[in-house]
Symmetry: D2
Subunit: 470 residues, 4 copies
């Protein structure tokens, strides 16, 4: 494991980071910059080369205020008070002692009086998807998702002093444990066997005897970061003298080559069947007599012939694999998983959300916003929309998603064949502004129409402020 | 196309064929022998080498009685009278004239008065799955299914003189058109394009202009046979002077290599994921930016690297493909599709169905049938059961199937690990009789128990008649 | 209880009874005559006046052959051998000893070898709905259903000597226990309390301590009959020296006034709402404050006013009750529950089932059956069809039902308003024959059309044999 | 119709009304007071005696600011901007011209730019359930629901000058049309026939020719109120010189005696069946022969006997009707329909929502709120909870409902039999405060436990502020 135990590491406060991000034009660059701050002083280049998906990393900063502003118990308390937090849906009350892991959720709304009572009695509080309630967490995750190209999620964990809330286990995601308040004693263990390296699914709760000796043991303090890949077993407990609050930021759930192959294989077979008669030929009349479990130990040359034939066909599938189309299925799912973008005030003023069409003095202002041929536009975010081909061409997008995971159905609009090029033009030129008139449409009046549709869905920002467009 | 237009071809009547079949011990040999008769004078060897899945074949016999006893309008009339035949479920009333194909099914039961009225008005009558009602058709199909290792089905078609019942089309099955009564004018056309050779699905109804010129045109007379592979377009119409009755025997629906690959691929991916970390590694962070429809014309070396990586993984799947296990999934489906066996009287007397346990004089006969260690047993049919591995070992079997397609759920019993060898022993030694005592079970008393369970499910025949076992 | 312990009671054998029934024109009279035989020497008049729904009755005949031909262990054995009897669906294997009631059904088909083995080991065999397999039971039940106007069902029970198959309990049907073979010791107990007299649902299994002393105790011998109303607890066990076979014929399940009121009440409310504004007026603003469980002990005059108002409205419903329409809902259900009719050979020759339209010498006989204006027709059975009004007028009928309970959906045809009178004419004139021409239709050609439709559905018999109609 | 065309009618602004309401202890009194303001200068007594459910009423106030603060186009614009308003779910875009009523909802979120564009093009905008978005509307409706004892709902309608948004029709609710901005020309028509007075369901869209002449025609101006009962046809259109904004407040949907009888009748039948054998007796054997549609014109004394018997039983049901239990079913539904209460700051400080348990300086404040025996408590609202009996005693409550209709499942808790009296005590003594110690529980420690459970669900307010309880 990599430890960064040097002296105090100082960085700008998160609020400054987020304000500065707003000045960056390219959402991918924003994501990179924010991630840089998250793992600083390790560089992203080093991180993705040496650590990511390979081994745990510990970054100790001796600076309790490094992550200040991301989330706090004070905000947690406010959320309990003001929002409709529900036990079992948004909040889990858990405990782990003497090897026994329990969940204590009562039914109904989680009001502070009850929640804090559990806490005082030694229970841990896991707030699920704090981005639903915390604007800053939403902002951070929605920025980071453009770096990972995979859903970025989070949970927060508040643990009373001298207790542990969860049994040792491993997860199916890359985990960034961000210590926010207090401190926590962590132990991380290597995957138990080859098959549990980078697993597709989380583990059960382990017993201490199942997991061997930790390869990393530390006390995480506010401002520190601990990363470990999926498959690494871990457990954290509070010292007698301090509670702990941390947020775990996660990504890369079901985002492996196997997950892509799940999409590719049926599609590749379908293409192969259409194009290659070898796939459509009947099986041998007698194959059931020498193949199958009951014949698997039979010495019969027909078996090897049959198996080789099957293997040859599998290998031929590589030539028929519609990789781009399978990637689009992944991309489409990602857009459904995405958090909607958080707009800066400046961005808002340049999108449909800030369109200065208002009701004044009993009537709608006359001077409606109208995109013109010379209006400069671009996509709001690099990854806000994606063209996918399935019985016609569809543009999937994330601007109408909810902060609540999958609360909305996947959003898409059909794109006429003659407009595909213009959409691709917008996607490929991002983050450059282009004039509506430069969109490669055959018909002139399609240009404003198409731009208006995208603008009305919140996918475009204009270069000039909208009020000035009139 | 192959035509056998020689002189009159004479064979034994079907009833003799079927009786002789009963004397053959091996059900695979029975199937081969019956198929030999079906396509005689062409030999099965020639047929499967030169014709099967390749081209149509016409066998003219100049012998109207060759197929006598298989099915007849007289039996059709009896079925309408005695059985609960329903329009739309068991019987279709159709017509095709002036390029227009219509179905005329009224609701409810198909009584002769109504059915024959349609016929007199020029409608064709298609009896679906006549094996449900005709013992001989059931017998013939249940024997043939052991040759094909794939469901063998049938429909019968009764067409009035001077009419046509169906539009030109192609099917998704290998078709054996057996002319039973009268005669019919047939035209067969080659597949229209490469992709329609050996298709997985049947076609829509074609217009005459869609299908080109016939490659085979003939008048089929009672006793003649016409075979054509799936994908060959065909249409048949009656001459002004004669009605026509034929039965189409079919097989190999969804029984191609592609259908097997559908089972193999997800299983192969699962094995690969478990065994090979390359499959579990995350996708590149930025793959959505250069892959997918919207990037498919981008010049970017990352694209070819990505595609090659995907192709390499696909090819690696060949090494992980659990072919036997996928074959068992096909085998299991086939056992569900199978017709139950038709037993000869002699066979019945040697199975549970003929067990001479009876109620006499107010009490059950005392001398119950009891398999003993020296009782000689074997499977009732070569393909009556199949071991499949899925969370334990299951023995699927067809003896409790219904004559009505999929009326029964798939039947299976769980086999303890220590009995698997004994089951395989019975399967592999078929058609040889073995003594119960020779079953390779660890515990002596398991032998009789296991044999009794199989016997009670109708899967075993004893060598000696059951009454003599006592 | 009524006991008929006189000397031997002799009657004609069932086969004679059934043949004689075929000569009776009116199906209601047939039903009455058969029931007369069933309970002889008690008369139906006495039975329905003194016994039915009131108390048990025992008829001892000292004539073991009285019910011969209805059902037997020999027929049971044949059914197991020839039909697809399934454990749990058609046959239950049960035992009751030391107060413990068990069911022993294995999965799958019930073959004689296995079934008789259970029997020899002391298990009782309950064959459910023997009418599915036994032509005579079907015939008897289908005749009796016209007497009861309610489904008539049956189960048979075969019990080994010296055993008992069922715990004491009461049923929700009127039970006629017909002893067929051997003998059985019966004990019948009065309903335990007022609320269990004529109950709507069967009881759980009782313990001996729950049920008091029997009010009737007897040994039923072949040829004897035991009747008891729903709600009377009963248990039967075999003596050490004889097995027992009996069939229980049952009726009047959910056929009480309450069951009719279940249909009447929602319909009455709907009519009242449409016709009477009192029902549509709003509830008092404050009714929730003085009504309901939490206020039920409140002294408040508003409560009595409110309750009286509700009671007044309930009583007013009597004036709006569409009794005929509710009866039709019951009638429609009964027609769905009905067994299809068993036709005598003579009847068959006069219905569509015997229509001499046949396939001969390669063609359909030319002389189709054609109903003419002077053809004499009547319904096949008095209760074979029923007009019901629901969004148009529907004729429900039972001729296409299955011997298997509810295997078929309810059968009906829509009747045009101008044909309702003709249908009613046929129903009301039953069992008189009327000429097609006498049907009260406005248009002459409707008469033959309507008659033909009914004839083709099997609802009509012609007076003259069909062959002679030509 | 009643018109109040006097001079300017002046009242306090809504904000004052609402503040003053907060000082009223009894939620029923609050509701009455707010309704008084709504219909002033008509008095509630006059209104419910002469107008409610009887005829339309028009109250003209010549005071455009009377309803100020309830809702406005400015708030509508803010909602569009800040909230996730969706076309078809929360907002309908409609038009009615030349007798043709159309809906123009596009898919997705309703952003101001698009919405106002529709408006400028002459479409009406119906915001459904504005209480979801407007705190004041939520407040007003949640107060009023305690007066009506039936769900109180609302829609707002914004109509451009010189247009009409809806076809003439009648609704199934009592409607209070509150004119907020601009003016609208209204025409109200009497129910067309007796059966359409106080109907259970809304009408289709009518044509002008269907509805006769208006009985009331007026121009509603801001500050005016128009009431009409369900069943009264109405249409409103804008004059050329002014747009219109109104909110329609509605209640009494499916809240008639018939709706209560729907609950009573099945329950009454069930009681009658259990208690009265007359209901359980079998129907006459032959009733199907003289009853039913096909026999309805038969002269037969059995018919009148049968009908009278049915009528007698219906009338007897009145004696068995469990009216309180049926009311509880209505009450339970009402509690599910209810809006959650809006708390004043003072109320909040006395409930669980304002419990001063907070996170400070890294720990939970030690001095937890704890109800004591001498703590004074009462229900938060008179109608916030209701005891219902159904397999045990359940307390249904509305405090955890959502502002979105039926977003939450019905909320209830099981009440042990020994606590029912204490719950009733709290309900009946409302709005009086009682001490926890005075609750009629058998066991002393149950008192605090029970009070704490109710308090934690938000059902109780304490007399003293919570901070002072410590």
């Amino acid at each position: 494991d990599t430890q960064h135990n040097g002296k105090q590491h100082i960085g700008p406060p998160l609020i400054t980071i987020l304000q500065d991000l707003g000045k960056i034009q390219n959402s991918k660059t924003r994501a990179f910059t924010l991630f840089e701050w998250l793992i600083s002083p390790v560089t992203p280049a080093d991180f993705f080369r040496d650590i990511w998906e390979k081994k745990p990393a510990l970054i100790k900063r001796h600076n309790t205020s490094y992550y200040e502003g991301l989330f706090s118990t004070a905000e947690f308390d406010r959320i309990l008070r003001e929002d409709n937090v529900k036990f079992g849906v948004n909040l889990d009350v858990t405990s782990y002692s003497d090897g026994s892991r329990e969940t204590h959720n009562p039914p109904g709304r989680a009001l502070p009086l009850v929640v804090w009572d559990y806490f005082k009695n030694g229970c841990s509080l896991r707030l699920l998807n704090p981005q639903t309630f915390s604007h800053t967490v939403w902002n951070v995750l929605s920025v980071l998702q453009e770096l990972f190209g995979s859903m970025v999620g989070a949970n927060t964990y508040l643990t009373p002093a001298d207790t542990q809330g969860f049994a040792p286990h491993y997860d199916d995601i890359e985990a960034f444990v961000v210590q926010l308040e207090g401190k926590k004693h962590w132990r991380v263990y290597a995957p138990r066997r080859n098959g549990e390296i980078l697993p597709q699914f989380s583990s059960v709760n382990f017993k201490d005897g199942d997991i061997g000796e930790p390869i990393l043991e530390t006390v995480l303090e506010a401002g520190d970061l601990l990363y470990f890949p999926r498959g690494f077993i871990h457990q954290g407990d509070c010292l007698p003298d301090a509670h702990s609050l941390h947020i775990t930021i996660s990504s890369y759930q079901r985002n492996s080559w196997a997950d892509l192959l799940e999409k590719i294989l049926p599609a590749a077979l379908q293409v192969a069947v259409e194009e290659d008669m070898e796939f459509r030929k009947g099986l041998p009349l007698d194959y059931l007599e020498f193949m199958g479990l009951q014949n698997s130990e039979m010495e019969d040359s027909r078996r090897s012939t049959f198996i080789e034939k099957a293997q040859t066909l599998i290998k031929k599938l590589a030539d028929y694999a519609p990789v781009d189309s399978a990637v689009d299925q992944k991309g489409k799912q990602f857009l459904h998983d995405c958090l909607p973008p958080v707009l800066t005030p400046a961005e808002k003023a340049h999108t449909v959300y800030g369109a200065p069409v208002t009701w004044e003095n009993g009537r709608v202002g006359d001077d409606t916003i109208q995109l013109e041929m010379d209006t400069k536009i671009r996509l709001l975010r690099g990854g806000i929309a994606r063209l996918c081909s399935e019985e016609g061409c569809l543009l999937y997008y994330s601007s109408d998603n909810s902060r609540i995971y999958h609360k909305e159905e996947p959003k898409f609009m059909e794109i006429d064949a003659e407009h595909v090029e213009a959409i691709e033009y917008l996607i490929h030129l991002y983050p450059k502004y282009v004039s509506v008139g430069s969109l490669p449409c055959d018909r002139e009046d399609d240009k404003v129409t198409l731009a208006s549709i995208l603008f009305e869905k919140g996918l475009l920002v204009t270069k000039e402020q909208l009020a000035l467009l009139r």
